[in-house]
Subunit: 520 residues, 2 copies
């Protein structure tokens, strides 16, 4: 295999599993923005009284048979039900029972609940994974157990890959908390509500065949429509598509750790002093304990200062909804909910809007909303002295997390802040070089830790702006040295095999890094 050096100096393959690859050339080089979009087959449909087909089928196996799914094809799923999803396992079990093999699993993400997929990899049902992998499946893949190389993409990168034709989906299965017999679906009514179906929109639009899987078939028409009947071939009713209570991401409580509260406070102060804190600004927040604390502080400042944010873009939680209902934030962009409490507002409020992923983050569009964000605050497993960020692997080399919108937000936001502890359980988070580059340092502006705040030297304007600030602004290399002192030096390198087990694709389709096999 030929390895080439990309713009970050990482060695990446020029070809993998028969697909030619382009090395990463810089955050805004975008060398693959050419040609035309994927062109799905032209479908047609008649009314049932004129010979049209009934869409509701009796079970998943019938749907799988009708779609023509066979060995070597690609299937997809959305992850709005997160760790409460039952549909992926259900469908892959059915595929396995039907003797179909060598499937590429291109869900938007896999969670610990999808551990049963491991057995299907072992038995040859699943041959490739192009998906975020959170937890056990990632660990299993890390040890070299997938016969092919996995591909990890950002939220924006995945829609780009589908729209540009890099990722062709043969059959998309859309878990739907509410659907009608013609396939119109949403996530806001029923026993298994999950809010938007924004991850599934692109799959429904481009997949050759689309199957809606629901536990709540209602009288036609199902409104509002997140997935339209025009994209749906079949509908299957099952007992339960998932457990809404398990969609909670991270924590729904603000951190209680004094160090982390301190990080959040400094991050919020930094934002308040920045040129981006002004009426009408927009920001993205997540669901981690630190993020929630930053949001809370920011809300307090805005209330005091009489400043209104034009929008929060997210992963929406009850925290964001509260600020919205209070009027401190005017509008909400919602790509997914991180707690069930946000769903009522998503369903009922005019200015709490669903954002399909291409609208959220596709660089190959005429303008996605991450491009417009003033501020994003994000997490990391590691950062390095060049401001590169790793969110995929740990220092032990194991691939345990997906990318989400991390890289997209970093590229788009005017002020991208990484808000993290400097070390965790005596393992340094600030490194000489991250184990895996997920997000290039070029797009990271500030790193906030309990030891201080580092501004990327590229942001001379910000350094100038903050030169008389009382905030503890420091060189990242100094902070790194201090961390090493505290934890007793950088951790040992993991023992790696010589197989590339996954590629990290930048949002523009180039290869930013590879992930190597970890010897067990």
């Amino acid at each position: 295999m030929k390895l080439v050096e990309n713009a970050l100096g990482r060695l990446v393959p020029s070809e993998m599993d028969g697909r030619k690859l382009t090395p990463y050339r810089g955050a805004f080089a975008d060398p693959l923005a050419k040609g035309v979009r994927a062109a799905p087959p032209i479908p047609h449909s008649y009314p049932i009284h004129e010979g049209g087909e009934e869409k509701v089928l009796k079970n998943l196996k019938e749907a799988i048979r009708k779609t023509g799914l066979r060995d070597g094809m690609t299937i997809s799923f959305h992850h709005h039900l997160r760790n409460g999803d039952y549909v992926i396992n259900m469908v892959v079990d059915a595929i396995a029972a039907m003797g179909i093999k060598d499937i590429t699993l291109a869900s938007t993400a896999l969670f610990p609940c999808h551990k049963p997929i491991i057995e299907h990899i072992k038995s040859g049902v699943i041959r490739n994974i192009q998906s975020s992998m959170n937890g056990p499946v990632g660990k299993f893949v890390s040890h070299g157990n997938l016969p092919t190389c996995a591909i990890l993409r950002t939220h924006g990168g995945r829609v780009r890959a589908i729209e540009d034709g890099d990722l062709h989906i043969d059959v998309a299965f859309i878990a739907a908390p509410c659907a009608d017999d013609y396939g119109n679906a949403n996530g806001v009514y029923g026993q298994s509500v999950c809010g938007p179906l924004a991850y599934g929109a692109i799959d429904a639009q481009y997949a050759d065949k689309v199957v809606v899987v629901t536990d709540n078939l209602i009288r036609y028409p199902c409104l509002p429509i997140s997935i339209p009947s025009t994209h749906v071939d079949y509908v299957v009713v099952v007992d339960e598509i998932g457990d809404s209570e398990l969609i909670v991401s991270g924590t729904t409580r603000i951190t209680r750790s004094p160090a982390r509260l301190f990080i959040a406070e400094m991050a919020a102060k930094f934002i308040k002093e920045s040129p981006y804190y002004k009426d009408g600004f927009g920001f993205q927040t997540g669901a981690g304990g630190i993020s929630l604390a930053v949001t809370k502080h920011l809300g307090d400042y805005m209330r005091e200062d009489g400043i209104q944010a034009a929008y929060i873009n997210g992963g929406i939680t009850q925290f964001a909804v509260d600020l919205f209902h209070e009027g401190i934030v005017e509008k909400l962009f919602d790509g997914q909910v991180f707690d069930t409490k946000a769903i009522d507002s998503f369903r009922d409020d005019l200015w709490h809007c669903e954002t399909p992923m291409t609208m959220y983050a596709n660089i190959h569009s005429k303008g996605c909303l991450v491009n417009r964000q003033d501020i994003g605050f994000l997490g990391a497993t590691e950062v390095d002295v060049d401001f590169n960020v790793n969110v995929n692997t740990h220092s032990d080399g194991l691939l345990l997390h997906g990318i989400g919108g991390h890289t997209d937000v970093a590229a788009g936001a005017q002020l991208c802040m990484i808000v993290i502890p400097a070390y965790r359980k005596r393992i340094p988070v600030i490194r000489d070089a991250v184990t895996t580059v997920t997000t290039p340092g070029e797009t990271i502006d500030v790193i906030v830790t309990e030891l201080g705040i580092a501004i990327n030297p590229r942001r001379k304007d910000l350094i100038e702006h903050f030169k008389s600030s009382k905030l503890p602004i420091r060189e990242i290399r100094d902070m790194k040295k201090q961390v090493d002192g505290i934890v007793g030096g950088q951790p040992a390198s993991p023992e790696l095999g010589d197989r590339i087990i996954a590629l990290i694709e930048y949002r523009d389709g180039t290869i930013i890094d590879k992930v190597m096999q970890v010897i067990q």
Copy 2:
């Protein structure tokens, strides 16, 4: 020019202006459902702080220049502002002033307010029209004044043509009552509200370049989003995009004509006695005086009988909104509003939903909503004894009306009723053969006139169902004979030239009829 006979016995050309044509083969033959969809160029975009382009331009001419619009290209517009639209004239004036010629005008519809287009045809700026033409432009084209042959499509047929690649739009101009500087747009806030932007959705998705034209630029983000920023290249602010008061279609008052009230009453009674009148049924209604009266009667029956309709699909008026707010109708599908009073509900009510045209009526989709309608009641300029319907021309041969969703609803609805007077101003509406076939008789079930109700002989089931009804059910040929007696026979044929001035395209892309030049 070679003419071939289509499935209705009409002679249609096999080629026109260099495009190969397929003759109509039957309402559900759909011979062109093959191949893949059009593939627009892959765009890309950066944040402005990373070198991305500002979308807001200083005027229309700058936008036209930036889009690269040049001689021979195709431009498009939606018609949500109907007879109150200012944008088409404004843009074509600018194009003319810039010396650009031979443009194809592919708006969704043209109204009397677009009469100035005639001068641009004369001067060579506009060379072809692929649009509904209501009024003066149609009359001008009828007299052979367009240098090429116009094409008329149904709402569903137009989106099909765009999605299938038959109609390529170079630059779409989207009149937007509300927009932000990134191009997100809706029709529900501002001085020129028009409700949905459902006609423009497909243009924005497939056009090479898209310009939003607004008179109400608001702070980012403009929510809700009918047209997303991901599809928009440029935004231009003008003083006024139109006059909302002039979007009113037909009448907003129930007819006062006793004959027409009688027609409406019989139509409503027929529906009530039909097998389709039951809890959960869905229907489409329009804005004509008879349609409103049918809707009113139907509402009264439903109130009495405790029956709830699942939805009205339309052209939504205050009449439909009232039934919806009363709970007699559960949900509203809204492709356009026919009066401004419907807009508040469209903006605020969760179950009053926008229906982009592909969702409304595209036969080349996996299931559009006209396929699901139980009942549609529609108008006509003429019908004939084979139940064919003309909505485009009058008996004098002049092309004065667009198709709208007529043909789509007829093909989709289980019970398609034409609700019309048997004659108008001593001109018979029931003919031996319609002047132009817009909608094939195969898809028309019932014709209701003041002289009685004719059921299509193909609908043996309906004839059987109504055999003991007290309604005046008659043979269409008898009704035609009676009309001829009343008005003194069929009208003289118009004097036609030998040029085909327009083609009527069936919703599947085949040619159902041609329209000949009328000698002045």
